[in-house]
Structures are given as C-alpha cells and as structure tokens.
C-alpha cells in the first residue's frame, strides 16, 4: 500500500515537472544533447538502476521521445512537435532526478561535493555510475561513456569529460568490475581545462550461489544439456562453471574467417544456435550438475536437449550470500528410437587426439541428442585441419547409444569443384597428386566400405554442381547434403533424381562454421535390429533417411520406406501414406504443411492453420504410371523443414526419371561441364603464358591434371548423350506402346 502511494506521488511529481518543462520547452527549444543515447543505454544495459515502474515509465518516455523526434524531422516548422519533444525530455530528466541511483556531484571553482556518498555498490561484474554533475550555468547535457576496470593498473582513473556548464548527466558504463571494494578517482575535466578529482569507491556486491542439476527424461540421472544463463541485470549471458570449452578442438575458428555465420565468434564452446523463436541465442554444453557463484539479481536459464525434447525456460532470483538450488528435467515430446529412427549429423568438424578431446565432444553431442555424429577431418590443397587419432571402427567413440564416427571433408576446392565428404572410413584419403579428380577419392572411399557425397549441395556453394555433373552420372555418389543452417535446398538434388540417379538426403551442421551440432539432422531407420554404427550406416546407404530441424516425418508407398525401390511390371495403384508431426511445445516442431512430391512437383498437400495442431497426415492412392521418385516434405511453424529421401517406383525397362524434362535438365548439367572445361582451359592458358604465380600451387596441379579432368568431362557428356539419345529414344517406344 505504502509502495503504491509512493508510486502515485512520483508519477504526480513527474507530471508536474513535465508540465513545467513543457512551459520551458516553448521558450527554450534547444534539446538536451545526448539524452537519447543515455536513456537507451540505461534501459538496455542498466535496468537495475530503476524499479519496475520507473523502468516502464522510462521505456515509454524513450518511445515517445523517438516518435516526437521523428515527427519533428518530418516537419521542422512544427512547433507543437518541438514542444512535445522538449516536454518529454524534461519528463525523462525529472524521472532521473527522482531516482535513488543517482550520484549527485556539485563542482565549484576547485572543490567537489558528492551526495549521498562517495561510494556505490554495483550488483556484479558490470554496472554503471549515473552521475548528476552540477556546476555554474544553465545548460543541460548528457554524456555516455565506458570504463573497463580490467584495463586500469594500480590507479583506477575514470575520466568524465564535461562538455558544458550547468547540469551534466553522465552515465559511465563499468565493465569487468573486480570483487569487493575498488578505490577509484573520478576526474572531472571541465570545459575550461580544469580537472577536479573525486576519490570514489565502487563496491561489488557479495555473490550468491547457484546449484543446477539437469536430468535425463530417459534415465532420471544427470545428463549433458545445452544451457544459456542470462543475468537479467545487463542481459548478458554467463558461462556455467563447468561448461565445456572447445576452442582448441575447433581450432579457434573465428568470425574473420567465417563469412556467413550470423552469430559471430563461433570457434569455441559458446555455441551460436540459430533456432526458432525464443530458442535463438548462444548456449554452452553443460556435461553434469554445476555449482557456481553468481552476481545477485534475476537470472534466466534456457535448457535444450536437441529437437526431441521440450526446452525449459525459467527465471529465478539469486540473493547476495544465498544459495539457489534447481533441478530440471527436459521432457521428450518424441523418442524416435522407439520407431527405429536414430538421429545423425554428417558434417561435424572437431579435433579428436585424446580421450579428453573425445569426452568433451561426446558431452556436446549428447547434449544435442545426436546419436551418430560424423567427425570430419578436413583439408584443402595445402594442409589439413581437425586432426583425428585414427579412422575405422576402432576409432569410433561409443557411449551408450551415442557414437562419434570419423570421416572426412576432403578434397575441398573453392572456386573449382566444391567440397567432398567421405563417411565411415577406415583411413583418411588424401593425395594432392590427384586432388581435382574426385572420382578417385570416391573409389577409395568405397573400397574402404565408406560412403561418398557432396557437402553444401543445398546452396550449390563452391561450384559443387560442376563435380556433381561429372560424378553422379558415373554412380560414384551416395548422398547429398541438402540441409544446412536454415536452408533446405533441393534444386540440385531434384535435378539428379529427375535424371534417374538414386541419392540419399542428408543434413550437416558444419560446425564450427555452422551453428550447433544437430541444428539440422538426418534420421536413419535401423528398424528392429540393435542400434550400432554399422546398422546406422547400412540404413543410410540404403537411403532410409529424412532430414529435419523441427517436424518428424513418416513416409510409405505401400510397404516401402524411403530409399526402397518398388519394381513393377505393369501399371497399378500405389498406396501413399505420410505423416508429419511435432509438439507445439518444442518451438518449430508443429507442422504447418505436408506435401507429397513426385518428380519434384507437389501432387498432394495439406495445411494447418493452427500452430497447436500436432499432426498432419495424407493417405491416398496414385497410379504407378511409368515410374517415378516420390518423397514427402513438411514445413513447420517458424520456418522449419523436413524432407524424406525418395521412394523409387520403377517400371520394368524404364528409368524412374522425369522423362518429359530430361532435355532441359541435361542442358543444365552440360552447362556445369562447360564450366569445368572453361576453368581448365583458362588454367592451361595462364600456365602456357607463364601467368601462374609462384604460390598458385593448386592451379599448377590443376594444369597437370587438366587432361585427366577433361577426359572425365567427356565421359560424363557421353553418359548424358546416351541417356538422351539412346535410353530416352528406347523408352519413348516402350512408353508409346503402353
């Protein structure tokens, strides 16, 4: 009750002062310099300086001021707008005047006095000094500056540069404040060149303590999880005490070598997660319960365990000298293992040279709930990255039903042929003598029992379409990475399916360049057999996969699963069944649309307009006609997607291709082959004219391999020619007969 009366009194006072300000505003139209920056910084970085009502008032006044300024800009002769602006500014100052957080400094010729005290207590590692500095004169001014207390040596000298006489409101953002009492000197540098010193103590509040346990929904035991911990006082996130630091293993890849990562500084354990809605932000891997000292105040915790769990959002208050204990158990909304589907990420870069490296990465993989993480050693023509202890089964790291399996992203060329991935390898494949002949890499990978495919096929990055045009028709390629970041890209994928080549759909995060392991994931169907890495790769090889970053998918034609082939001698009806589902409690999982795609075209779809609807299903019959590939695609709320690998319906004597469009598609693949010829010719020419520089090592090798590469172009052209002129012609007759 008392508080209410007090609030009413403040509001009344604010309004009265505001009205007085209004009168002054008419006569004095000069606005207070710096007031918008100061107000914005107070709201954004130091809300703790105000109680909730003051903060709400300040927020509203900031908005009103911005509106008034915009109106004033539109019509500079609008005296009402200027009056309104001045009125609001005065109300902001009146609100500041009322705040208990203000340190009042009075400067005379050579003296300084301070009220209420020459010390202040700040809530934690960051805080602020909000100073009202009065000297002779009637001007008003606002200044905002920053002082990093880690930078000072023995003497912490904080400069306050006064740009005018009268009243200056100075907001000094303090960062990295040491514990206990800090004896500083405030140096008031006046307009006329004088410096007046004020000894001032900055005291950091005694810390509180937080104990957090995160339990598995499966076992009830502590489990790794992804955690974001934010101090509401300044909105900054804090590293949990036992969070895993991955910087060394991720080779400290930083934003200056990452060109498209929206959340910068991604080469360490603080993982940027570009997830929908409130899930967006940076997270740390927390491997076990943690116990840590924290600045007092309100804290917000977000806990994630991959896409199959419902995230937890919680806020709590830590009191100085007190302990808060919290236990969380993120609930599953689905357990895909029960349906025989196990998640994977086929594009993870991380060094593993020791048991500790493996342990740290395993905790991260478990926190994101990815069952098969393919850890890719990587290279370019000049060197390799993300070294592994070894390859093959003996170097798999297994903890329960979580597996780290070594693989490679190699070769990688940037302006020529794209990036190549090998999974489930027994040895790293690298030879710069044939670096531009990806088919040789594919052959060796297959000899090892591994799987070969292309990275970044979703975006076509690094000219990957060129190598695809040579090696997919030769049957060298098992999979395409069609989902990465937030982009499910199917143009290239659908082109090759439409030419009648079977390819498995996969998804890879590409950390550390990507965001977080499993942000997009591939599920492989291992069925009833016990889950092992071999079973997972076997399913993957068969194409029994779907990719997703939200909704789950189920897709059948008759009894066939994704990757399966239905062989038919005659036209008959086929039973298509698809289901997309997801919990609205897991942001982005609930399906908005489910589509059936045949030969790249949507033939049936169903939409939901209710984000709380958990499931969409389609169940219908189609004719097998001359055969086709067919798949299911789901779109979730918040821009999420899922896509199944296709089911292939094959009529005897016919390809499952998109017969009517093969000319156009082959034109596109021939265009990619033309480009290969062009860059080979350019390189040859530069070499002949001695224009290759000493450090153009790659291009010198390309020149050496140019004849071999052109042979491969010719072979691919011949395959396409035969498809077009022979196979298609032959099929034309069969199709006409039927």
């Amino acid at each position: 009750m008392k508080a209410n009366r007090f609030s009413v009194l403040i509001l009344l006072l604010t309004t009265i002062v505001g009205c007085i300000g209004c009168e002054r505003g008419i006569t004095n139209k000069q606005l207070v310099p710096g007031i918008m920056e100061l107000t914005g910084t107070l709201i954004q970085r130091h809300p703790y300086l105000f109680n909730s009502e003051e903060l709400s008032d300040l927020d509203e006044l900031n908005r009103q001021l911005r509106e008034a300024v915009a109106q004033g800009k539109k019509d500079t002769t609008n005296s009402l707008a200027i009056e309104r602006q001045a009125n609001i500014e005065n109300r902001i100052i009146a609100l500041l005047e009322q705040s208990d957080s203000v340190i009042r400094v009075t400067l005379t010729e050579d003296e300084v006095s301070v009220m209420p005290d020459s010390s202040i207590t700040v809530p934690g590692e960051s805080g602020a000094l909000l100073l009202r500095i009065e000297s002779k004169g009637d001007q008003k001014n606002c200044i905002t500056s920053e002082y990093n207390m880690a930078n000072g040596d023995r003497y912490q000298l904080i400069n306050v540069n006064l740009e005018s006489d009268g009243v200056t409101w100075a907001l000094i953002n303090l960062v990295r404040i040491p514990p206990d009492e800090n004896k500083t000197i405030l140096l008031f540098n006046t307009k006329n060149g004088k410096t007046i010193k004020l000894p001032f103590a900055i005291i950091r509040q005694k810390l509180g303590r937080l104990k957090v346990s995160i339990l598995s929904d499966d076992t009830g035991q502590p489990a790794p999880a992804m955690v974001r911990l934010i101090w509401k006082t300044n909105g900054q996130d804090q590293m949990p005490s036992n969070a895993i630091e991955l910087g060394e293993q991720l080779e400290h890849i930083k934003s200056d070598t990452t060109k498209y990562i929206p959340l910068a500084d991604n080469g360490d354990g603080r993982r940027p997660a570009f997830l929908p809605g409130r899930l967006l932000g940076h997270y740390w891997t927390v491997p076990a319960p943690f116990d840590m000292a924290l600045s007092p105040g309100e804290w917000e915790i977000t806990i994630r365990r991959g896409v199959e769990h419902i995230p937890i959002f919680d806020t709590f208050t830590v009191e100085s000298g007190q302990t808060v204990e919290k236990t969380y158990q993120p609930k599953r909304w689905v357990d895909m293992r029960k349906y025989g589907w196990y998640s994977g990420d086929t594009h993870v870069h991380c060094r593993i040279l020791s048991d500790m490296d493996a342990k740290r990465l395993m905790a991260y993989v478990q926190a994101e709930d990815i069952h098969v993480a393919n850890i890719l050693m990587m290279g370019n023509f000049r060197r390799t990255y993300f070294e592994q202890r070894g390859f093959g089964k003996e170097y798999r790291v297994i903890d329960g039903d979580y597996i780290l399996a070594p693989g490679q992203e190699e070769p990688r060329t940037f302006a020529t042929l794209g990036h190549f991935i090998g999974l489930n390898l027994t040895d790293f494949v690298r030879n710069t003598d044939y670096y531009f002949l990806y088919d040789i890499f594919a052959d060796i990978i297959h000899e090892q029992g591994g799987l070969a495919g292309y990275a970044h096929a979703n975006s076509g990055a690094f000219r990957v379409a060129r190598d695809m045009s040579m090696n997919i028709p030769k049957g060298k390629i098992d999979f395409l990475e069609i989902f990465q970041g937030m982009y499910l890209g199917t143009n290239l994928y659908f082109d090759y399916l439409n030419l009648g080549f079977k390819l498995t759909a996969t998804a890879g995060s590409d950390i550390p360049w990507g965001h977080t392991i499993g942000d997009v994931r591939v599920y492989a169907f291992t069925g009833d057999q016990p889950f092992t890495a071999d079973a997972w790769f076997e399913a993957f090889e068969k194409g029994r996969t779907f990719v997703t970053n939200g909704p789950m998918l189920e897709f059948y034609v008759d009894d066939a699963l994704p990757g399966d082939e239905i062989e038919l001698t005659d036209n008959r009806k086929l039973h298509v069944k698809a289901r997309a589902w997801g919990s609205p409690e897991r942001i982005g999982a609930a399906p908005k649309k489910l589509e059936i795609i045949r030969h790249g075209e949507v033939i049936r779809s169903i939409n939901s307009s209710d984000p709380n609807q958990e499931e969409l299903a389609l169940d219908f019959e189609i004719d097998s006609e001359f055969g086709f590939w067919i798949t299911a695609r789901a779109e979730g709320y918040e821009g999420t997607h899922a896509l199944s690998s296709p089911i292939y319906v094959v009529r005897k004597g016919l390809r499952f291709w998109k017969f009517d469009e093969i000319d156009e598609i082959i034109d596109r693949t021939n265009l990619a082959l033309d480009q290969v010829e062009q860059f080979v010719e350019e390189t040859r020419k530069r070499s002949a004219e001695n224009k290759l520089l000493a450090d153009d090592l790659e291009y010198k090798q390309l020149d050496v391999l140019s004849a071999e590469l052109l042979k491969r172009v010719d072979t691919a052209r011949e395959i396409y020619r035969k498809l077009k002129e022979e196979t298609a012609e032959k099929e034309k007759q069969i199709r006409n007969q039927r």
């Binding site: 918008m36 990452t258 990562i261 940037f414 982009y487 890209g489 209710d610 918040e638």
Partner: protein, 209 residues
Amino acid sequence: MNISKKRLPLLIPIIILFFSLNINSVILAHEVLKKYIHHNIVMYVGRNNIDIELSLEFYEKNSLMERQRMDVNQDGKITKNEIDKYLASLSKQFENGLNLTIDNRKVELFTLYDPKIEFLKNNLVTPTTHIIRLTYFARTPKSFAAKSKLVLEDYLWSSIPLISRFNVIGKDSIHVVAAESDSDLGLSSESKKKGRLFIATCTAFPNTQ
C-alpha cells in the same frame, strides 16, 4: 614511378582492395558466401508495442567497402568519431529501411535505440566482418487480433544479396509465428533490388478481460 605523398593515402584503400580481391581463394574457408549480407531479424509482438531488432552482418568485401566509407581521413583506422558520422549519414536510410504493415495497413516504425556497430575487435579498414545493430518499434494497432498478418519489408542494402533469419516472439501471452522469409541464398542469387519480405501471423491474442 613517383607517387606523390599527397596521393599515397588515396591509394592505400585501393591497394588494400586489390590485395583483398586477389587473396587466393583456397586459403579462405567458405568464402563464396561473402557476397551476402546477413539480415537477422527478431520481432517481439506485445500488446502495446512491436519491437524489431535487426542485425546486419557484413563479410569480407562488403565489410571492407563500408569500412572505407567510415574511414573519412583514410588512415586505415576507424575512430568513434568516424563511426558516429557514418551512422549519422545513414540515418535516413535506417529510418526508411523497414516497412511494416499489419493486415495490409501501414504501421509507422520508429527508431527505438541508437544504431550500433560492432567491429569484432578489428577497427581497421580490412576485409573482415562487422555488424550493424538497429532497433525499431511500432505501436501495436488497436485492431490487432488473432489471425492478424504482419508483413515486414526490408529495404536495407537491397542491392546486395541477403541471407536472412526471421524470428518472431510473442509477449503478454500473445502467440505469433513466423510464416515466410526471403533469402537470396540459392542457385540463382541475383540481387533483387527491392524490399525483402518477412511475414508473421498472430495465432492467439488473449482478451484482457
């Protein structure tokens, strides 16, 4: 060839640009996406206000070009004063950079806080990365209700291809979901030179009574 001292400062950025464009592509990771500007938009929809946070992340050449604009004295370093001037010079572009319509009616957007630039610890005129952070707000219209459709048009640096992310977050028990967002990342990445669309829908707007 003699280059006068007067001309030398003018040549520095050109030399830097020349070398930056001729860096052997093999040593750079994932460089193909450098031509994009990343537009990361988060929209908070509340009962009284709709707040928009937009970060524009510039990479490599795009970052270099903007840094050159900032570096007025061409000494290769960007000072706070130069940043302030650069931001001031763009204020009109920022103010007109976004358009918001709700149920086909234009809603006026205002700046919420002063624009900020983050240089990621590198304030030199080099081809690296920097982020511009912008904030806007609009007053939630009285007519706003469940099924209201919010369409945000983004005209900022519209001649340069974008990759984007659009998150929408409801406040005050309002539920909103992102429906669509534009992106130029695909096989044809021609710049569109028009506003890019980001669409969200209100799915629940509880009655206060």
